[in-house]
Symmetry: D2
Subunit: 281 residues, 4 copies
């Protein structure tokens, strides 16, 4: 008997019997639930469920059929992921390499269950890094019309069978069309503790305000710059005597671990987006 | 229809179908699952489940019967808590009052779902605090035989219908007999980051070692002093220029919030003890 | 020989010889430097120095004379504090008591080197707390013209010889005139991680944004609501499944320790305000 | 006029006039103090001072002479560092590369003011990393007598003009002779929160104890395994559902940032060792 591992994500208006109902659907189809997490956000009366289960491949259609039946009745939003299909992730970078290295090294360490399909950059500097880790590198200069540039992105995404994009300190703004097209499939790292320090030079802003703690925020890129749903945040206390330049350096450790952590959550299908924010299960 | 809220705790050797099985038992008895958390500790192949559900009071026996049937078959350890029965907690103190106040204030704020049955102390100093919060105060001096003292504890526990004890900086050691009698029902706060600084004067030990971060540990009191299962820990960075006395003061904030947090986890029936440690669900 | 402990605060444009110059002035007057901290903020080319020293009371005028001589020449800003004059602090509260208790208990514990001159409130609820800690309580209702109310504050400040004010979750806005009059002498606790969540209901804002970490900010009250210089901040990770109400409760621990810590820094004369922010030495 | 930047470290029994005395010595020799930090550890009545100053190279002998004069009189321990002489650091590794990469990348980023003189390993795996960063790689197998191995270390240290060693997850134990020879010049990263989890497999120990927070500790290697003075520590909260393997992965982020931070402190001459612990200024 050959079992496949699937992950089911559900969210819907809260109502009685949702957990019992879901487990029954899975049980009937012969699925073995390995892991199940559930949360009801009472403030918005919404139910979230993530179930990891093993099933004989041929029986998965039965589950899909059952869930579809419930869909209208319960106003169900659901997604089903076959974990044997490894997501292919593109990494977009500019010149800074700390996030890129952290992703590549953690991936090689087995922490990030994905393949890196390509590295895309508006500079050539980090090409050799791609080379030494065996990830194809694409140079797409930014001194051209943004629509031409983004069409090139679409080609690369298609060629490399890319499922999602990680902006690892990519210093260009993506168009509203592009982020809409790949909605909740583009993860950005903002080097500030959103929603406080949007826009450019967040560490400079933080220093000028004299904040005592800085942070980094991994979020989905949306058309509202630095306002997409937050996936992951981390912080570090600011030594009082730090200069702006030292603050920038300090921030890099937070940035890289926050971005890697966000990608990991996304790859494990733990991220739900609802009511303008995420819920992580 | 008058529903009662219950919490079911289960842990047992990991095996297929545990989640589906449990939800079926609950569904059959007409229970509505509100919240369910489950975790499988792969390193020890053990399954943990906590389910919160509402049910008509008369149907709870059906669930008990079903779970008992599974007990032997699945080597099930289980407990069922009726949440309408508010636990009665005794607070043991000596002279220091920061943990006592934190517990009393958080309780009054509605954060801790319990009643404080009494305050017990080997000093009279904190009697007035009991008075101003309306909690009966018992003075049990420590200059007597420990067995006499602990018999007095047993009487007080019985008189005040106490379910569990919180040692809120109580500076006396309980006997092995006593901690065994109330196993996993006595929560202690150790003012050190266990297992590092057992025994007396942990902040002095920490200062002498030059540790850069101190912590507090809430744990169950067992016969092995400061070695009982850890429920909750918290830390704080040590400013390099701190004296031992300042370290002691610094630690108090961590102690009080850690102890209150541990009691809250226990009252919500989130604490499982297995294989010499806790699992918090 | 009867020595008095003083604290000297200096800040001025950075230039050569400032440390040597200052220590010479102190040495000449027979002062014994106990503790000296210095920081040059390179980004704004400004020098900050805090020196703690002991001196025969009669010689302090010599130091004042010397420093005044340097004042124009070096564009020196300076303050000199006699540590035997214990600052008298008023606590303003509304109905919430967690910050009030934390201040009173830490004070009794010897952590806060001040006297509490009075508790002022727009409600009568917390009067008994004042009573049990022996701090006079003044009820100044808010259902009257703000200028009448603030004149009453001025009277109380005068009667009780108050040096500074701590707003311990005081839920009224002070006028621009009042905050200007007591500039950098009114410390507020904002229950959000400024500058992110200004204004009302910051935890509600935080929950809606789905931030993963919340914080509290102690800052000087100025005419720009929630924009005064930040003194102290602290944070706590937000469990993903938390409700808004639980978030509010969670925040209280951070609020109280952040406010007490800010007051402590201010009492130790460690807080410098320059260029719209603080520098803590 | 050509100025050289020096750093002076002093520690001695506490006594009056130390700060004034030191600044006078520096002023007389025409030194310009840029930065000065001082701390008196009252619990052991010891004074620590770190001063950064600029001076004409020819005048430094005058300062040395003055300080030597004070040496006996004040029981002064002192060191003087010429900051134009960049320390040369050897990195010892085994097979794990996360700490190695973090050091190399932060160095290239300008964060670590040193040169890496060589990478030494008991395995050949990480040779290519050395190559791509231009740092010579030495393979010293561990399947030989430890004294032969350590003599080879001494040769390499001499050949490469190495000043100090960083053990970046080097999985061999150095002999008491070797650590004594390079006392306070060998920095180790222990993947546990010392002094709690000494010895092998600290994450396994931590998981079994059910600790709620793990940490890493950078310390000087001494003959007492994992007991040398602590330089730097950092921590991370343990998600309750984590496996041992995930704990190991989680720990890597803490390890790498803690080790890099410790090296930075050492390179900036901020680390004092006294009374069996460090004081960081």
């Amino acid at each position: 008997m050959n079992l496949t591992k699937y992950i089911l994500q559900i969210h819907c208006p809260d109502q009685k019997g949702l957990i019992a109902g879901t487990t029954q659907v899975l049980a009937k189809a012969g699925a073995n639930i390995i892991d199940m997490t559930q949360h009801t956000a009472k403030d918005i009366e919404t139910f979230f469920l993530r179930a990891v289960f093993e099933i004989e491949e041929e029986n998965i259609v039965e589950i899909e059929r059952h869930v579809q039946t419930l869909e209208k009745h319960l106003q169900l939003n659901w997604k089903l992921f076959n974990t044997t299909k490894t997501p292919r992730i593109a990494i977009f970078v500019s010149k800074t390499d700390h996030c890129l290295y952290d992703l590549l090294l953690k991936h090689r360490d087995g922490v990030l269950p994905c393949e890196f399909s390509c590295i895309v950059s508006n500079h050539t500097d980090l090409g050799p890094v791609g080379g030494s880790f065996g990830v194809p590198f694409y140079y797409v200069p930014s001194n051209q019309d943004k629509s031409i540039q983004e069409n090139r992105f679409r080609e690369i995404i298609s060629e490399t069978k890319t499922d999602a994009i990680v902006l690892a300190r990519y210093m260009q703004i993506l168009s509203a069309e592009f982020t809409q097209e790949y909605l909740y499939k583009v993860i950005n790292i903002h080097h500030g503790f959103l929603p406080a320090f949007k826009g450019a030079k967040p560490y400079h802003q933080a220093w000028r305000k004299g904040v005592k703690i800085i942070g980094a925020t991994a979020h989905f890129a949306t058309e509202d710059l630095d306002q997409g749903p937050i996936i992951c945040q981390d912080i570090q206390r600011v030594p009082e005597t730090v200069s702006i330049e030292e603050l920038v350096q300090l921030g890099k450790d937070i940035e890289k671990r926050t971005l890697s952590a966000a990608l990991k959550l996304w790859l494990e299908h733990r991220v739900f987006v609802f009511a303008g924010r995420t819920f992580i299960l």
